[in-house]
């Protein structure tokens, strides 16, 4: 099969031929066929933990120390690897997960940390760097696809708008936003009690049918052609972006955003949250060929849920439950469809949180020693890499920084040593750290 052909179209063709055959009959065979194709497209899903997630209550517990807090550790499916008790489903799938416990970064401010982790670069430098989403959309994106290469579900962008942008790559690689905390009503629940996630203004305005839209676009095109005869630069980019938007509106693939097409049971498994439904949307987008999808957790209240300066334990228990349901179901769903092997998942936020517990039962910003997780395609799961001290305050082994993390991600996606090209023609490496060989499959 060719990687260009939309997998969904292939599946519906197959399904039509198979008729009433049960899903379990042909699904695994089809999945095997996909896995064995070395040229197939690679994808990345970023699970973005806005606010700065606590490592001590998730992946790197300290049960024998006063910094440990209220949660218990549980044994995962991988010998010697233990997670928080509130991540049982992920613990059962730990063979897919590589936990990096030695992350140490230099930014403890939300805005600066967000930019640092999402670009690998300190903010306010001489250049506007693309977020990792735009970077990977550029590298892995399928140009013929109507869907954009970078989709962001439920982002809270207020900390740093630029950290979500395409920087020097230009707006063509910028994110398509689905449900954003800074746009009123976007995270609200729909009719069936699920979050009503959708692409804003994707449908034609009320009262405008297809013929009318076609007529409008006809007039529009002649205006554009005229203007572009004598002009370039911004005018040309404007035209390219509009063509992409029109293509998306007219594409069947836009139904990827319509979650009502999924079985109710599966939607329940993902969780009735923006994060859970976002994970389901991620799967629908990945199977249609989208290169990069990010899903934010804890943003549905309109703020950064992981910023637990007070009442940390109740908040983190809720967040963990949502995380566990959405992420575990996503991995299972991708695996069933033969897509997990070609999809690398990365879990991170802008920084970690203090191992010490403050007087408000909270934890504060802490970039010194924290955790990120890699999973799925190209990742050797079932392990923890790096180690923090008994009190969790220092990295004692396997210290890595933001560039190392992003380099490891790029290697796992088959992008070792790749660069983007800046407008002045200079190659800018995707990441400039040292990939962690032992977590690469």
């Amino acid at each position: 099969m060719t990687s260009k052909l939309s997998r969904r179209r292939m599946m519906s063709t197959l399904a039509a031929g198979i008729g009433g055959a049960s899903v379990s009959g042909w699904f695994p065979a089809f999945a095997d066929q996909l896995v064995s194709d070395p040229k197939r497209q690679r994808h990345c899903i970023l699970l973005w933990m806005s606010g700065g997630p606590t490592q001590t209550d998730t992946w790197d517990l300290k049960p024998n120390h006063e910094n440990g807090g209220e949660f218990k550790e549980i044994q995962t499916a991988s010998p010697g690897l233990r997670f928080s008790e509130h991540l049982p489903k992920l613990a059962a799938m730990s063979d897919e997960l590589a936990v990096l416990r030695g992350l140490s970064t230099g930014e403890g401010d939300h805005g600066r940390g967000t930019y640092l982790m999402r670009t690998g670069k300190v903010p306010l430098g001489p250049m506007q760097y693309p977020s990792i989403g735009a970077s990977l959309a550029n590298q892995l994106g399928n140009q013929e696809l109507a869907l954009p290469g970078y989709v962001s579900v439920g982002p809270f962008r207020a900390f740093n708008q630029d950290a979500f942008g395409a920087g020097f790559l230009g707006p063509r690689f910028g994110p398509l936003i689905v449900g954003a905390s800074d746009i009123p009503g976007q995270m609200a629940n729909g009719a069936q009690g699920f979050p009503n996630l959708r692409v804003q203004s994707l449908d034609r305005a009320a009262g405008i049918d297809e013929a009318r839209m076609k007529k409008r676009l006809g007039i529009w095109k002649s205006l554009q052609d005229d203007f572009l005869k004598t002009r370039t630069g911004a005018a040309k980019t404007h035209n390219t972006v509009y063509e992409g938007a029109v293509q998306l509106m007219n594409s069947e693939d836009a139904e990827a955003f319509d979650l009502s097409k999924e079985p109710e049971k599966l939607r329940e498994d993902y969780g009735r949250t923006v994060f859970g439904q976002g994970c389901l949307m991620a799967r629908r987008l990945i199977e249609r060929g989208v290169a990069f999808v990010e899903v934010s957790l804890g943003t549905s209240s309109g703020g950064p849920g992981w910023d637990t300066h007070s009442d940390n334990f109740n908040a983190v228990q809720r967040l963990s439950t949502d995380l566990d349901a959405g992420w575990a179901t996503l991995m299972k769903d991708l695996k069933d469809r033969g897509l997990l092997e070609s999809t690398t998942i990365i879990w991170m936020g802008e920084f970690g949180r203090t191992p010490q517990i403050n007087p408000n039962a909270g934890r504060d910003h802490f970039p010194g020693a924290w955790s990120a997780v890699l999973a799925g395609g190209g990742i050797a799961g079932g392990q923890a890499y790096g180690k923090t001290s008994e009190d969790g305050i220092e990295v004692v082994d396997g210290m890595v920084d933001e560039e190392d993390l992003l380099s490891t991600l790029c290697h796992s996606l088959g992008l070792k040593g790749k660069s983007n090209t800046a407008p002045n023609g200079r190659p800018i490496p995707l990441a400039e750290g040292k990939a962690i060989e032992s977590v690469l499959a």
Partner: protein, 472 residues
């Protein structure tokens, strides 16, 4: 080649008033037969309330960083209002900057103090922002180590930051402090070199003497005096370059806030000339805008028969500039008579900017990353918003659009109706080649529903066109 009259008209409205001209404003200009009509228009625009509120938005965008929640500190509205009043009364710019740098009072009062609360009262953030927006220098690269390309040492950054060390500040983080806290000068406070105990004394970037000890003026006062002095080589040049960059899409030094060895001015003579003029007019921004807008370079066309990227780079051809989200809203609003109903007086259109909640909501949704304004930053979400979103369907809806409703008047011919649509959006009449095409949609016999829908479709296409969405 010089810009056509209507091209220049549209540009100067967008640059000075932040919006396109209304149909009557276009017609008034076209009917004005005096030889100095452009000069007269520029004078009128520079004194208009729309100019003051537009500049307030532009200035706020670089004075206040994005992504900081300022609701607790009175929000940006009071700040916009304060700026607009300064620009409206043509306060000299050194005075405006002194007011910002010496702001004091309760945090919640907002106004000029927002410059401080947005930087969280941190000496290092205040230092890097002050250097960047008023002196055109990115000192912050020297925050953690000596600047890699420029002659700024780490000590110099912290020496500059030391001027902001002696203001009252909260013990904890600013988020947790009561906003009734007062900001004022205090007599102690120091900055230290990061990860050391080494106290850094205040030091001017040009080595001028800093007064210390009893009776010396407060550090902030000394900084404000030094920074806005006529003999400060950076302040006037940085400001002249900023205004030039705003009008041309590209500074004489580019990026506009990155003066230094790596970024030499395209023309040092031009920069010195403008800076000298600015100082000589007692730092009048209005005069600076006037001089640049009346220059030959500003009046060049953005179009060229052959495409050559070097021409706009060297100001031999106007750059095409993108509109900010605020400008997109204002232009749609003026073109389709959204917020401001016509008053009968030709020149009485003023857009409602400060405190306009539907504008704020649109801007929130439509905003794009800050980049060079010659690069189109909108993406698919912005395109979808303009094609299918509420603002446009209201503006092109048969029952909701003020513009379309006004075209129902019986004395118009269909040709005149289409002309109004073009004047309202593109500030020009259709060209002969366009009439050929438009006749296919609407001719003089078209009427009723077909006519209404046809006009709405043309308006929709105009509002979505690059020619409308860009400042060219």
């Amino acid at each position: 080649m010089p810009a056509e009259n209507n091209e220049l008209l549209r540009r100067v409205y967008l640059d000075l008033a932040g919006r396109t001209p209304s149909v009557s404003e276009v017609r008034a200009f076209e009917n004005d037969e005096s030889t100095n009509r452009f000069e007269a228009l520029v004078d009128r625009l520079l004194k208009s309330p729309d100019h003051a509120s537009h500049l307030a938005t532009v200035w706020r965008r670089f004075l206040i960083p994005e992504g900081v929640d300022l609701t607790a500190f009175g929000g940006v509205e009071a700040f916009d209002q304060w700026l607009a009043e300064r620009f409206s009364s043509d306060d000299s710019y050194d005075e405006v900057v002194r007011n910002l740098l010496l702001a004091e009072g309760r945090l919640v009062r907002s106004g000029p103090l927002l410059f401080y609360s947005a930087a969280k009262l941190d000496p290092d953030q205040l230092a890097s922002r002050t250097a960047r927006v008023f002196l055109g220098m990115r000192l912050e690269c020297a925050q953690c180590h000596d600047h890699p390309f420029e002659p700024w040492a780490q000590d110099e950054f912290w020496g500059f930051a030391a001027f902001f060390a002696r203001i009252s500040r909260p013990n904890g983080t600013l988020e947790n402090v009561s906003t009734v806290m007062r900001v004022s000068d205090v007599d102690r406070g120091e900055v230290m070199l990061p990860e050391t105990e080494k106290v850094i004394a205040p030091k001017f970037l040009d080595g001028s003497e800093v007064l210390e000890g009893d009776g010396a003026p407060a550090r902030r006062q000394q900084l404000a005096d030094w920074l806005t002095a006529a003999r400060n080589p950076f302040f006037a040049r940085a400001t002249a370059n900023r205004v030039w960059g705003q009008l041309f899409g590209k500074g004489i030094v580019e990026p506009i806030d990155n003066f230094g060895i790596e970024h030499q001015p395209a023309s040092p003579e031009l920069l010195d000339l403008l800076a000298g003029h600015f100082v000589g007019t007692d730092f009048s921004l209005r005069e600076l805008f006037r001089s640049i807008v009346l220059s030959k370079a500003y009046r060049l066309s953005s179009g060229a028969v052959s495409v050559d990227d070097n021409r706009p780079e060297l100001f031999a051809q106007m750059n095409i500039k993108t509109l900010t989200a605020e400008q997109v809203y204002d232009c749609i609003s003026v073109a389709t008579l959204l917020d401001s109903a016509p008053t009968g007086e030709a020149m009485a259109i003023n857009v409602a900017r400060i405190g306009n909640t539907s504008r704020a909501a649109f801007v929130q949704q439509f905003r794009t990353p800050v980049g060079r304004n010659t690069e189109y930053q909108g993406g698919i979400p912005q395109a979808l918003t303009l094609m299918n979103g509420g603002l446009i369907s209201g503006a092109t809806g048969l029952s909701t659009s003020g513009l379309l409703t006004s075209l129902e008047a019986p004395f118009f011919t269909n040709k005149e109706r289409i002309e109004v649509l073009y004047l309202a959006t593109l500030s020009r009449k259709p060209r002969p080649s366009e009439w050929k095409l438009l006749d296919g949609y609407i001719d003089e016999d078209t009427k009723g529903n077909e006519l209404q829908e046809g006009l709405a479709d043309i308006l929709w296409a105009l509002l979505n066109s690059a020619e409308f969405t860009l400042n060219h």
